[in-house]
């Protein structure tokens, strides 16, 4: 019984995290019907921002008995959380602006891409140097930089050609295009991650004090886990408020019902979609940061892959586009994983996650809480 309750608690903790990431998937799916594959990688970037902030950017003190330092560290950790949310929100908007919007509106490659590239380059360069030079493997560095620079110039010169291709051939892009673009963005973030953050796993040391609480009959709750659970719930409540009671939230819901009608009602759909990506990115950033800082798992450029997929599965189980569904799906995934993980079938954990998914899809093709939209004939 103790083990049962303990596993249930683990499941809910894990599930709350999945739910947090799943919300980003589900919101984007709601407004755009797009599976934003890159979302898991935004989560990864959130963890890296946590790592850099904790290790290099902010004056964290070594944990000691000094209560002053402890309080300082906790305040700083909150700052890191907000910073991570901010930057990941921005990243979400950037992804939407540079990859999905041009595809959606049939704009192709625009000038903005080149300027965006020109700004992103030095930033990537900074991180790249930061890592490679310290372990003496930065030999190809300048070669690569020149390669990219030349590529940029040549690309810029080739703009008329690109224009020409774009103007001649842009059709209404299919879902498949959107999906492949999303996969491309995901690959870019992962492989850009290798380049920018380096291939070695990073770890964030203990930044805030941790404590185990024993509750009824030996069930243990860890303070960090509790913090993750509480912050996740808090963020979900804030999200709920935004979606239900603000103008933007109403606009989001309008768009998810019918984007064309929303446009005709004078809603600036591009702007609302940007906000959606910002919120999704911020939630993923918060998730990544919390996992990195509070559970000290290894952070690699592939950090977001597995949680991303699982959160995505959670979103689908709940019904993509449905916000309570994402939370429900996340919790189901988390609990199922905890119980399977603790059983003798633990090796089949991921298979079982997907089996649950397939079964639920077959029984309820639009997910547990999703609306089953029949096509009008």
């Amino acid at each position: 019984m103790r083990i049962f309750i303990q596993q249930l608690i683990f499941g809910i903790q894990l599930g709350s995290l999945y739910a947090l990431i799943a919300l980003g998937y589900t919101m984007v799916y709601g407004v755009l019907s797009l599976i934003n594959f890159a979302h898991g990688d935004v989560y990864m970037v959130g963890a890296y921002i946590g790592f850099y902030a904790c290790t290099y950017w902010l004056p964290f003190q070594r944990l000691s008995a000094d209560p002053h330092a402890t309080v300082m560290n906790i305040i700083l950790a909150v700052v890191v959380l907000l910073l991570s949310m901010l930057l990941c929100g921005v990243l979400g908007v950037v992804i939407e602006r540079f990859a999905y919007r041009p595809l959606r509106n049939g704009l192709g490659i625009t000038d903005a891409h080149f300027w965006g590239f020109a700004i992103a380059l030095p930033v990537a360069f900074h991180f790249h140097l930061f890592h490679r030079l310290s372990d003496g493997a930065g030999r190809f560095l300048f070669g690569i930089m020149w390669f990219l620079l030349i590529g940029m110039i040549v690309g810029y010169a080739l703009r008329p050609v690109i224009r020409w291709i774009s103007l001649r051939t842009v059709l209404s892009p299919s879902r498949l295009n959107a999906l492949i673009t999303a996969i491309g963005v995901s690959l870019l973030l992962e492989n850009g991650g290798w380049l920018v953050f380096g291939p070695n796993p990073e770890f964030i040391g203990t930044m805030v004090p941790e404590k185990n609480f024993k509750i009824l009959g030996g069930v243990i709750i860890n303070s960090s886990q509790l913090a993750i659970l509480v912050i996740s719930l808090l963020l979900m409540l804030i999200l709920r408020h935004i979606v239900l009671y603000t103008r933007t939230g109403k606009a989001m819901r309008a768009i998810s019902h019918d984007i064309d009608a929303a446009k005709m009602m004078g809603i600036n759909t591009d702007q609302v979609i940007s906000v959606t990506f910002a919120i999704g990115g911020a939630l993923a950033g918060a998730g990544g940061m919390m996992v990195g800082v509070l559970t000290h798992v290894q952070i690699t450029p592939l950090f977001g892959l597995l949680p991303g997929i699982k959160a995505f599965v959670a979103a689908v189980i709940g019904g993509p586009g449905n916000i309570p569904g994402a939370v429900l799906g996340g919790i189901i995934m988390g609990v199922a994983e905890a119980f399977v993980g603790g059983s003798s079938f633990s090796t089949y954990r991921d298979a079982i996650a997907f089996t649950i998914l397939i079964i639920i899809l077959l029984v309820r093709p639009a997910g547990l809480l999703g609306r089953n939209v029949t096509e009008k004939v």
């Binding site: 291709i165 774009s166 299919s174 996969i183 963005v185 298979a351 997907f354 899809l361």
Partner: protein, 339 residues
């Protein structure tokens, strides 16, 4: 009769040409290039077969690596596990001689294709209920389930996979022959289906399922058939991969591979067989050419992918084909003459 004659000659020329090609190449060619060439062939089969499901029938399947894996493992299981069990009783199955090797390869192919086809049938069934993204997720899920199962089945090596699968060496010179035979089979099969009136009904399922249904197209049958044929071809690709690159492990059949194959189809132009072939070659050769860039090549690759999707969402070839006769254009002309 003349058509029959022509066809027999065509098939003979194909066989002899492929045979000579593979003989010549195996003696002359660096094994490294040879390996890349085999890989190219295998991925062409995969891309063309996925194109049948995804491009032609419009069923959003992105778990093709699952079928690839089923074919590869079942084929390898024959040569490494089952064949040694039965060879004592049926000595004609002995490997090492030309006919023995060919026989074993054929058995492996049949087993691999059948089991992959059956998997395709099972996966095709949800396609009756699920549309678009949901089907995509279900197929991806299927591929992941296969992947996890392979990791956990010890008799096929678990995470290590199966290494040192017999190349069936006396037919080893024929590796290219077999691979490109299947390349041609899959291309011709796609083309023939697409150009018949029955094949048009497959396209109609892609274009508008409800209208197709109303025109009497048995959409259920079309979808399941597309899945079965597509996955059986992927199974064949798996068998060839396992036997001519001599090693398989679950990692080869991970989600990345599924995504790679999907990318080939979309990049080449969803629905275009020519496009799938070209894209498969490009996506296999390009990373090899860019090998000197080490990890950065993947960055370039992903940027290219995004740029491609933004500027040419319909892929390199759109739905056009190169080298397919314009049979449809001719038809009105004959009409005119007879009228």
């Amino acid at each position: 009769m003349r058509i029959l004659m022509l066809r027999v000659i065509a098939i003979l020329v194909t066989f002899i040409g492929l045979y000579m090609l593979s003989q010549f190449v195996t003696y002359q060619m660096d094994p490294y290039y040879f390996q890349v060439l085999i890989e190219c062939g295998v991925y062409i089969i995969l891309a063309v077969s996925l194109n049948l499901i995804n491009g032609i029938t419009g069923q959003f399947s992105i778990g093709h690596a699952g079928f690839f894996a089923v074919g590869a493992y079942v084929g390898a299981a024959w040569t490494m596990i089952w064949q040694p069990m039965v060879v004592e009783r049926y000595s004609f199955l002995q490997m090492g001689t030309l006919h023995g090797d060919i026989l074993n390869l054929l058995i492996a192919l049949i087993l691999g294709m059948t089991s992959a086809g059956m998997a395709g049938f099972v996966v095709g069934l949800p396609s009756l209920r699920l549309r678009g993204d949901y089907l995509a997720i279900a197929t991806l899920g299927f591929a992941e389930v296969i992947y996890v199962l392979l990791l956990n089945i010890n008799s096929v090596g678990g995470a290590r996979g199966l290494n040192g699968i017999p190349t069936l060496i006396s037919s080893g010179n024929l590796a290219l022959f077999w691979v490109f035979l299947f390349v041609i089979i899959s291309i011709v099969l796609s083309r023939n289906i697409m150009q018949s009136v029955r094949g048009l009904t497959w396209l109609s399922v892609r274009e508008d399922e409800i209208a197709a249904d109303a025109m009497g197209v048995d959409t259920t049958k079309v979808k399941v058939t597309a899945f079965v044929i597509g996955s059986a071809l992927a199974g064949a690709a798996g068998v060839l991969y396992a036997h001519f690159l001599t090693g398989i492990s679950p990692d080869i059949f991970s989600m990345n591979t599924s995504i790679l194959i999907t990318t080939m189809v979309v990049l080449g132009g969803s629905g275009s067989v020519t496009g799938s072939v070209i894209a498969a070659i490009v996506l296999i050769v390009l990373p090899e050419v860019l090998r000197f860039l080490k990890n950065d090549r993947m960055v370039i690759y992903s940027v290219l992918l995004i740029v491609m999707m933004l500027t040419r969402p319909q892929g390199i070839f759109g739905t056009k084909e190169i080298g397919f006769p314009k049979w449809r254009r001719k038809q009105p002309k004959t009409e005119g003459r007879s009228a």
